[in-house]
Amino acid sequence: MSSTFARGGTSSQRPARAHLPESAPPPLVSVVLTGRNDGYGGDFVGRFIRTLRFNHQHLRERGVPHEFVFIEWAPRSGVPLLAEVVLGELPELDPGVCSWFVVDPAYQSALSLNPRLEYMEFAAKNVGIRRARGRFILTSNCDVVLGREVLERLAKAELDDGKIYRALRLDLKLGADYGALSWDVLEDIRNVEGRVGRLKPPLMTGGAGDFILADRLTYLRLQGFNEVYRLTRFGLDANFLVKAHSAGVPIEDIGGPVYHINHAGSYRLSRRMYAGREAEAPYGDTRWPAFAVVYDNPPTWGLALAPARHLSHRCWRLEFSWSAVPPMVGLKGIATARPSTPVATRAL
């Protein structure tokens, strides 16, 4: 067992560093994103390109050394790869700032314990976490625009190791034509859907899948997101924060929001559709004890052992191999969450 924050884990093995693209010096931050060319939520590609262009432009303007680690999870057959579409549209995303991993669709069927679950978002993000090179890793989503304060913190590199940073998510109203994204559009309170909440300590959950920033070692110590409970994608982000809190990792508000471009099919909009038949939801059942349990991922988490085939410069395909698939059932990998235990007392 290579568990780092694993409860009762005794091994001192470090997780294997899987197929990291080695060339340029490591950036300050790796932004891990996942998606595929399936029209998710309507014009997925359009939303993604606008968001990616905005984030890349503002990171570059502020001189933040960064890379985007994109996981194209289980792409549909018969349509072009998202990598081809996006990289064609954004020539400014030179290979130095972008790594792309296309994951064989067989992994979705081999990993999933819920036939209704359409997309294993957090297993995909784990693939990116294991392959990211940055000193810090930000797991986010393709339609999440970084706010001004977040960019400033990154620009000043005012970030501590051993800490998790969260940002409040503001949903931009559905259906509005935002055109090219600008600060005027993003920071106009009239464009925000619903009331503006706040992140509540200690866990600071709520849209966590849109922004979790931590140094790479902390992500690796926490073993990424839960890969034992593979029945849902709902609550796995909160479950990661529960594990972090349980392991004594402080969780802090970074000080400003990120903006989510709302779309049809988002959990926020579609949860009412599945009220009373939660088990049928394509994002998995929401009724699981995400706040009460922690996990100890298998050492191969993040498809560490998946063979990578080079497709083009900085673009790889992770071929299917049973050796990369964790056991179907790993009951010892689920345990009760405990109140804060200092990281230092855990076996690393």
Partner: protein, 148 residues
């Protein structure tokens, strides 16, 4: 003799001598006086008799009240004895409550732990159920239907 005869004749006509009249008037007055006195005495006795009756009624009420008071006293004594017993029981229970209060945080922790374990078991059961469903689907795909 004649004088006596005259008196008798006069008496027949309702006449008496002045001296006799005077004597009779005095006697009448005395009798009237005695009658008045007797009447007053009678009234006084009547009053006393009434007062006596009233006193007897009061006495009876007082006796009843006394009886009730005695009964109440006995009841109170019994209640007092019962109260003492209950007080002792309550004091005993107060000790139990103190003991419970001391053990409550521990029990609360144990309950919380049990609840957490239950949730972990629930998550594990979800995993087992999911795995069984997946294996079932995979098996069905590979089973060749046989016709009887």
């Amino acid at each position: 003799m004649i004088r006596r005869l005259v008196h008798r004749v006069l008496r027949l006509f309702g006449l008496v001598s002045a001296r006799r009249h005077e004597r009779l008037a005095r006697e009448l007055e005395a009798v009237s006086k005695k009658y008045s006195q007797a009447k007053e005495a009678s009234k006084a006795w009547e009053k006393r008799a009434r007062q006596h009756s009233e006193l007897q009624v009061h006495l009876k009420s007082a006796q009843v009240a006394l009886k009730e008071a005695n009964q109440q006293t006995r009841r109170l004594e019994r209640a007092n004895a019962g109260g003492d017993r209950k007080l002792k029981v309550l004091q005993g229970r107060l000790g139990d409550v103190d003991l419970l209060r001391r053990t409550l945080p521990g029990t609360d922790r144990e309950l919380s732990m049990a609840r957490d374990h239950l949730m972990a078991i629930e998550a594990k059961l979800d995993i087992l159920e999911g795995a069984a469903n997946v294996l079932d689907l995979r098996t069905r795909r590979h089973v060749i239907p046989t016709s009887g």
